[in-house]
Symmetry: C2
Subunit: 400 residues, 2 copies
């Protein structure tokens, strides 16, 4: 096949991307194709190729051998493209309705050719515009429940699970999370980035031994607990949505990690959006957090009852124990994510986009207190509904 | 090199083993060599080659492609030989004094050529003969502390750790432990093997929901928690000892597992030996259990203070948290091991060798109650000294 000639990595151009699509016969012969590079250029090239006759398109995503963040550039493994296409295929075997179809991938070129989702919108963008995506939590709850269950020791052959985990060892991308989510924001580190007005609040986090201990425990879970193949970066910027559809993209951080991580990241990003809204518009976000957990727990429990391969499956209280530790961990991970998105290297547009500076500082201060409460109080929460009161009480919490 | 000719697996004969030793120049040219196959033939061939002039020898261990247990035979991966030689080399970089030297290994032949330790005795055998090995716990405590610390996220680069873990993925050997240690003994499974007189006690274990829940949690830890490169089978039959020396052999079960597992297996096998002794001779075994933990905790803590690579290393109470969870898990794993060595597929000579039947049944019944107590009470133990009272009270414990 002609494609195999191109086995040495080089960044594609728009015309090379079209040539590849033609070689792969992804469009009818002679179709009038136009191509536009629509990536943000930080980590990946993203080519959108459209058949002008039919309007139908495809996406060719190509990893770049470096990451650009805040003007800096550091080398980054191209292997993440293979992790991404393999993760998309693995997830598609459990939740085809919630991930883009992969048409082709080439590890040496670091490309994934996949379904065009441009009829949908990135959920973060829509949420910032005030959209609510009524089915978002139903879909994400199902997505997380199924991907976690079926790739865990409860849902698949336990020996095959070890081999699957081996194929998703992902040191470089995990390091980004270990540093930027679990470490740097909690120390006076050069990657941090926050307004001067927040300095006193931030210093409190840096000097809080109790908080350090709890974040260290959560980090240890991320470093050592291989429950399931997780997405690893499930924020609202990794989700395409409309009122009817939800698609989870960009699983280049996928690896075998703890059950609670994806849920935690998703909760955090819903809460970060709530922080950017006037009080009377926050309700749909709280409802999403609650419904995501409820759907997750229900679907996971149903799968447990029906498809559990573990001989201890029927042991009374085992499912409850697994769900409870997942819940506690998810709340803790959410706290870390809320904090790092406020003062760490990679912010979110939900907060940074608040134009009024006083408002923005107030929201970020609220975020820091919410994050701290989520981490420190995660073991005493009994119910996902309590997130709401934690959120409302956070601004009143003492600064220790 | 001539050796590379032999790249297809076949079991060695005694003369082929000598030829290999000669080719590897492990003896002076023309040395008068004699070879004896000294393995038990269940899993491996073990050739002992000795230079009759000097008395010096070597061991060539070759994995067989099957396991024979209780007359049955099932296929077993030859890859375990590579796991074993790689684990020996990895451990030797941290504790050369406690593992046999590896001179050569060949993955396709499934062989490891290593130091002859025939001046030492298998610790289980010596303990059954009434020996006490005064340095055993000092050495094993150090061995476990250093191998765990240096292969964990606290003692080595966290990205290199992931790659090391990837190279030790060991599904087939882990399955043996998952089945025979954590599962079969707790259900009415055909692999179990026990005297009729124990049936009522065994049925209690099979029907004890609380016990099942706790064993399921311990099994989940074994399945998912990749703290460090563990030996995976650290019973007293995997240890060569004398009054001065200790060498840990046979790490073919090595993989990235939970911190507490090796300690738990070792504790259990010391306690199983104690169960086979008259009361007045049990003291050295209790002392070994206690000293192993104390040495482990001290050495691990020193390494933590001096060589910890984790940014949270200095966080107050983190070390205590890691040590405490290791302690609790070790006690629980010890309980599973005590039970499975009493009623599961693979027994220990300590108990099976008790000639008087009534005595033997009494000791085994004691073992089952001890195992159950270790598992159920592990969270309420504050101190390793409490193992002693748990042991003494176990026969009096209610059968639920």
């Amino acid at each position: 096949m002609a494609v195999s000639k191109q086995s040495v990595y080089e960044p594609l151009t728009e015309s090379a991307a079209i040539a590849l699509a033609v070689r792969l016969r992804l469009f009818p012969e002679g179709a009038p194709l136009v191509c536009r590079e629509i990536g943000d250029g930080n980590l990946n090239l993203v080519f959108h190729i459209v058949n002008q006759q039919t309007g139908k398109g495809i996406i060719i995503k190509q990893a770049l051998p470096y990451a650009k963040v805040v003007g800096e550039s550091w080398p980054l493994t191209l292997k993440r493209a293979a992790i991404e296409s393999n993760a998309l295929r693995t997830f598609a075997s459990y939740v085809p309705e919630y991930v883009p179809k992969v048409y082709y991938s080439d590890e040496s070129l670091a490309i994934t050719v996949m379904e065009d989702l441009s009829h949908l919108q990135i959920a973060r963008k829509g949420l910032i515009e005030g959209k609510t995506y009524p089915l978002l939590s139903q879909h994400i709850g199902e997505y997380v429940a199924k991907t976690l269950f079926y790739t865990s020791d409860f849902g698949m052959n336990q020996q095959e699970k070890k081999q699957l985990a081996q194929s998703f060892v992902n040191p470089e991308l995990c390091k980004i999370t270990e540093d930027l989510v679990f470490t740097d924001p909690f120390f006076d580190h050069e990657t941090n980035n926050f307004e001067d007005e927040l300095r006193e609040d931030v210093k409190e986090l840096w000097n809080n031994d109790e908080l350090h201990l709890e974040v260290a425990k959560l980090k240890r879970k991320f470093l050592t607990e291989g429950d399931a193949l997780i997405h690893g970066d499930l924020h609202t910027g990794s989700i395409f949505a409309s009122d009817e559809e939800t698609k989870v993209i960009d699983p280049e951080f996928a690896f075998y990690g703890p059950f609670g991580f994806d849920l935690g990241q998703f909760f955090a990003n819903l809460l970060l959006n709530a922080l950017s809204r006037p009080e009377q518009e926050q309700e749909p976000l709280f409802a999403h957090v609650e419904k995501t957990w409820e759907v997750f727990a229900n679907v996971f429990s149903d799968l447990w009852e029906q498809h559990n391969v573990e001989p201890y499956a029927k042991t009374p209280r085992l499912l409850q124990d697994v769900l409870h530790s997942t819940f506690v961990d998810a709340i803790g991970f959410a706290g870390c994510e809320v904090i790092r998105r406020t003062i760490g290297l990679a912010h979110v547009a939900d907060l940074d986009g608040i134009e009024d500076k006083e408002e923005r500082i107030r929201a970020k201060r609220h975020a820091l207190r919410l994050g701290r409460s989520l981490i420190l109080q995660r073991n005493s929460l009994n119910d996902i509904q309590e997130i709401r009161s934690l959120f409302l009480q956070a601004p009143l919490a003492p600064t220790n």
